[in-house]
């Protein structure tokens, strides 16, 4: 069953590539969506089996690499963690496939688009079902590739191409560390299969490795390398710059890859390797720090962005930060729980945004929207649901998952835990603010759309609304239904040791619950005040705190900094090395130099053959004298 779940999307991909041209774009859309639908149904079936408690199962396909003691198989591992990821990936992917039929209607390469989506799903499923690190890496790089292809899908746009390359290369920086980490794990544990790693992990708790003049704890070093990989994929602080730019891709892509699935791969990896990561105490502090900092950092940027997709992109970045700090504090189940609920509501937000963009004929700037509620009421409702879910409105999905994360942070005794807790509370405020800002700027108030365009705005077709509806169900109910299994009373039975569980069932004191709720409400209130009642306030604030405002608007100038520190020197260095290193030094002193010397030497030698008799006579005489003197004196 697992094999068909994973390979059906691949079949969809192959169909679209080879037969899309022959049987038309319609057939590609239908076949790939249908296959994904089957895949989704099977995934839910598996998930329900795990809800009813089932043991880990491993399906062996065939041997991949055997080189000495390095043995890797193509094999699938199904356990509770995988099953949870399966439903997120296939459900969102199915919704996005369906949605794309409507969204990409007027595009000229529909088959190509559908094929990439299916290929992405295949790689993502490979990633979450893998039984060893290398196969995971296969999926990991594969999703990176499809992300690259889809960001640059409109390859006539220079900006899209640039964003695509940026995404691939920044991801590769992470992958570089990930690959080293895998090699290191093989070196230490002698295998890269999960079971063997987990079995041996505790044996190496105090093992150290010598690196850069220091003795590092081996497990910490390995986990650090792996986490760098996760940072790249999940767009954490420092390696986050590619994610906002990735919005160049079509919106369904942003929903699928850059919100719900691929960017959560980093979180998944940390959870998958949780038996290893729990032993890496120092790295856990680092993970918590990076996660919490990313959460607040990205949220501050989201406050002022004007592109509707960019707001959501930074929001994704921020929510991923939540997941990471939960993982860093050891609450892997909470982290995966938030991953699941976030998958639903973030995909919903993105697809709703896509629906708005579709209605606005590819206008993404919120300054040119406003008052769209009655024009696109269904879309707007969906957006409201998504926004309520993300801020943690009671009984919607975000309520459960965010609260458990804050709870974890609150009860963590470490300093970093308190740091994460306060950041978490503060970020919740920011989240509420930018979500409501988005809602007001887009759907409420007076419209800023010109009259003739305003008339043309229409609600999206049914094929786009159905996925929204499905996802909204997930956004509303996934928290209620899943919390018991993911974080509640049945967590131990459900997870069945597929992730390490943070056993903590105290409830936060009422004052703290109140604090978090108050901060969220405050965020909403400020947004209401700024964008509904006193619109000049926002502008005043921006001009009074110009420095902070432009810092946020320009994304803290990280891109400019990287450009200045890395990109430009990189190109400059490559030119210098080529022109000076290769051409001037190696060639001039190497082959060309030698040939010049030989030339010079031979023309010098040829002067001896001058042709004048007296030259020759003189040389003969001189030679004779030298030889004679030699014999006489020695």
């Amino acid at each position: 069953m697992i094999i068909s779940i994973v390979f059906l999307p691949l079949i969809g991909f192959l169909y679209c590539i080879f037969f899309g041209k022959i049987f038309g774009d319609k057939s590609s859309q239908i076949i790939s969506t249908l296959l994904l639908f089957i895949s989704t149904m099977l995934s839910w079936y598996i998930f329900i089996q795990y809800i009813e408690i089932k043991n880990t199962e491993i399906y062996f396909l065939f041997n991949w690499i055997t080189s000495g003691s390095f043995i890797v198989n193509w094999a699938f591992r199904v356990d509770a963690l995988t099953s949870a990821m399966l439903i997120v990936v296939t459900t969102v992917s199915f919704c996005v496939h369906l949605y794309s039929i409507g969204y990409m209607k007027s595009d000229k390469s529909i088959s190509r688009f559908m094929s990439y989506l299916s290929l992405f799903t295949f790689f993502m499923l490979m990633l979450v079902t893998s039984d060893n690190l290398l196969q995971m890496f296969f999926g990991w790089e594969g999703v990176g590739l499809t992300s690259y292809l889809l960001i640059g899908f409109w390859n006539y746009k220079e900006s899209a191409n640039k964003a695509a390359i940026k995404a691939f290369i920044v991801n590769r920086v992470g992958d570089f560390a990930f690959a080293l980490g895998i090699a290191g794990i093989f070196f230490i544990f002698g295998s890269i299969e999960f079971d063997i790693i987990f079995e041996k992990a505790s044996l190496f708790k105090d093992h150290t490795i010598y690196f850069l003049g220091f003795n590092f704890s081996t497990i910490n070093l390995l986990c650090f390398l792996l986490f760098i990989g996760a940072m790249g994929k999940s767009a954490q602080l420092g390696l986050h710059t590619w994610l906002p730019d990735a919005m160049e891709g079509p919106t369904p892509v942003s929903a699928l890859i850059h919100a719900a699935t691929m960017v959560t791969a980093g979180v998944f990896m940390v959870a998958r390797l949780s038996p290893l990561f729990t032993l890496a105490d120092t790295v856990n502090i680092f993970i918590t720090f990076i996660g919490a900092s990313t959460a607040v950092f990205a949220a501050t940027i989201a406050l002022t962005q004007n592109d509707i997709k960019r707001v959501i992109a930074y929001s994704t970045c921020s929510q991923l930060g939540y997941m990471f700090f939960a993982a860093g504090l050891g609450a892997y189940n909470a982290s995966i729980f938030h991953l699941t609920t976030h998958g639903f509501f973030k995909a919903l937000l993105f697809l709703s945004a896509g629906s708005v963009i579709h209605a606005m004929h590819h206008e993404q700037d919120m300054r040119k929207m406003g008052g769209l509620f009655y024009k696109v009421p269904l879309t707007a409702t969906m957006m409201w649901i998504g926004s309520l879910a993300i801020i943690g409105f009671p009984y919607l999905s975000g309520y459960y998952s965010k609260d458990i994360i804050l709870e974890t942070a609150f009860f963590s005794s470490s300093n970093i835990g308190s740091y994460a807790y306060f950041i978490g509370i503060f970020t919740a405020l920011l989240t509420a603010f930018y979500s409501w800002r988005l809602l007001f700027l887009t759907f409420h108030g007076e419209t800023r759309v010109s009259k003739e365009n305003f008339v043309k705005i229409h609600e999206s077709p049914l094929v786009m609304l159905i996925p929204l509806f499905l996802l909204s169900i997930g956004s509303i109910f996934s928290g209620v239904f899943l919390s018991e299994y993911f974080i509640g009373s049945k967590e131990n039975e459900f997870w069945n040791s597929s992730v390490v569980i943070f056993n903590n069932h105290y409830h936060m004191p009422f004052s703290q619950i109140l604090l978090s709720k108050v901060s969220v409400s405050l965020g909403i209130l400020i947004a209401v005040l700024f964008y509904f009642f006193r619109k000049e306030l926002a502008a005043n604030l921006a001009s009074n705190f110009n420095f902070l405002y432009s810092l946020s608007l320009n994304k803290w100038y990280v891109d400019e900094l990287y450009n200045f520190l890395i990109t430009k020197p990189f190109f400059a260095l490559s030119n210098i090395l080529w022109k000076n290193g290769d051409k001037k030094i190696i060639d001039e002193y190497g082959p060309n130099g030698i040939s010049r010397i030989i030339n010079a030497f031979s023309s010098y030698l040829s002067q001896f053959q001058s042709g004048y008799l007296y030259h020759y006579a003189f040389v003969m005489l001189a030679g004779l004298v030298i030889i004679l003197s030699w014999f006489v004196y020695f």
Binding site: F70, F138, I165, F571, G590, P591
Partner: protein
């Protein structure tokens, strides 16, 4: 095992074919006969080499299909050939690529077709002969003979600066080879044995190994090429015709790696151990430095040539980490690079044939007119950057694993190729393929024709095959490499 000498037939079939071609009349009408004769010969050779693979027994670590005849009566020279797991794939690589070379030259070579085809078939004979030699003298003869057709191919059918490039190529490699010849003569004087297999182990005292190693190094380091002996390569590639580049990148560079494994690692373990730091440092420079240089290139072929140097840096590290994963990684990397870089040069050839420019800036937006071309180019680009699932990944990753066993810094630098290669290859791809077609001269450019489709599809198939099921290639080479590593470790343990 066979009633007929399979290996010799494989070696000399192209030679026979080239003699037949010499007998064909050359005029307008019969030029097709020449091409077909050459193609059939090379395909026949490929089928024969597949037979070798088929009958190859992976459970034997020594040479198979051995043929041995006395050559000179008074000396210990033999016509002694055989294949083992290491040479098998080098032979296959040569026979696999030659038909594509002939296909790729089908329309692009207009003058002296007969001589051109003869040169290629001769080249094939020499390459197969070199990889299957068990006798050192025989090896040397083939090793040097390879230079001659290649020199002619660049010098006659090359670009504008072909004379400079071909002389640079010839002199560079010859200089190294002369030193190797001295080393070979010395080995003969010293041991009176010319059998590569018998010399595996630890025959020489360290001092002798030291000098022999340097002499061999001179030859192989130029051939593979290692930094800083690499500058002949970009020039040669740029000036060579497409098919010449294919063989140059696909097979000729591998002669260096093959030599390192056979001679340096196999015969001179003590000196190899001594020179490890040198190899590591030069290889790391090659990986990092040439990746940077590649990024600055404006000529497509030059860029790919520099990327070859970087990839060969990974190979040399893989060989000299001297453990199972490292050497197997290096072998797979060589096979993979042989196919991928050959394919990339073929890709360049496709657009060069149409638009006659190698300038990156000349192109842009090709995807609009040539979707199939764009797709195949993409796959080879990905294989070149080592994406899992393609051949490039297996070699690179095994090498990283091997290097990690030696030390973590080494692994760090090998792995840095993961980032650097992505930078220059994707940047190249973007500039050629993506964007809008703005250049008037290429706005009617045509997509792949059936001949080119065949080439691309077969190469893609092999790239994916190695990526998904590398065991097909790893199994035969396991035992010989195990023996090699054992020898090496034993020698250095004393």
């Amino acid at each position: 095992m066979f009633i007929w000498p399979l290996l010799s037939v494989t070696i000399f079939l192209p030679l026979f074919g080239s003699i037949v071609i010499l007998l064909i009349r050359e005029d307008e009408k019969s030029s097709n006969n020449i091409k077909w004769a050459a193609l059939c010969t090379s395909i026949g050779t490929f089928i024969l080499s597949c037979l070798i693979w088929l009958f190859f027994d992976s459970s034997i670590s020594s040479y198979q299909l051995v043929e041995k005849y006395k050559w000179f009566d008074d000396f210990n020279f033999y016509y002694h050939i055989g294949v083992d797991g290491i040479s098998l794939f080098m032979i296959l690589l040569s026979t696999f690529l030659t038909p594509f070379c002939i296909l790729a030259s089908w329309d692009s070579i207009k003058k002296r077709i007969k001589e051109y085809m003869v040169a290629f078939l001769l080249l094939e004979t020499f390459m197969i002969g070199m990889f299957s030699s068990v006798d050192i003298l025989l090896f040397y003869i083939f090793f040097e003979a390879v230079l001659i057709p290649m020199f002619i191919i660049i010098g006659v059918w090359g670009g504008e600066r072909r004379i400079y490039a071909s002389f640079k190529f010839f002199l560079y490699t010859l200089l190294g080879s002369v030193l190797m010849l001295i080393a070979i003569i010395f080995i003969y004087q010293y041991t009176n044995i010319m059998n590569i297999e018998k010399l595996q182990g630890n025959f020489f005292p360290f001092k002798v190994q030291f000098w022999l190693w340097l002499a061999f190094f001179a030859s192989f380091a130029v051939k593979i090429p290692m930094w800083p002996f690499h500058t002949w390569l970009p020039d040669a590639h740029v000036e060579a015709p497409t098919a010449g580049s294919v063989i140059l990148a696909g097979v000729l560079l591998k002669m260096g790696g093959y030599g390192f494994i056979r001679f340096s690692l196999g015969m001179l373990p003590l000196a190899s151990e001594f020179f490890l730091p040198l190899i590591y440092i030069l290889s790391i420079i090659a990986i990092v430095y040439t990746s940077f240089v590649a990024l600055a290139q404006t000529d497509i072929k030059k860029l790919i040539a520099y990327s070859s140097v970087a990839h060969m840096g990974i190979v040399t590290i893989g060989i000299f980490v001297a453990n199972q994963q490292g050497v197997e990684g290096a072998m797979i990397q060589m096979i993979s690079h042989g196919i991928v870089s050959a394919a990339l040069f073929l890709c360049v050839g496709v657009i060069y044939d149409r638009a006659h420019s190698r300038e990156i800036a000349f192109y842009g937006g090709l995807v609009n007119r040539m979707p199939l071309y764009a797709a195949s180019f993409m796959i080879f680009t990905l294989a070149s950057v080592g994406l899992p699932g393609t051949s490039g990944f297996i070699g690179e990753f095994l090498t990283i694993i091997g290097a990690f066993k030696i030390n973590i810094y080494l692994a760090f630098f090998v792995a840095s190729g993961i980032i650097l290669s992505a930078v220059y290859m994707l940047y190249l791809y973007k500039r050629i393929i993506f964007g809008t077609l703005t250049n008037e001269k290429i706005k009617d450019i045509l997509d792949l024709n059936i001949r080119e489709k065949i080439i691309m599809v077969s190469l893609i198939a092999v790239v994916l095959l190695i990526g998904i099921y590398p065991n097909l290639f790893l199994d035969p080479m396991r035992l010989p490499i195990e023996t090699l590593i054992e020898n090496y470790d034993n020698a250095n343990a004393k």
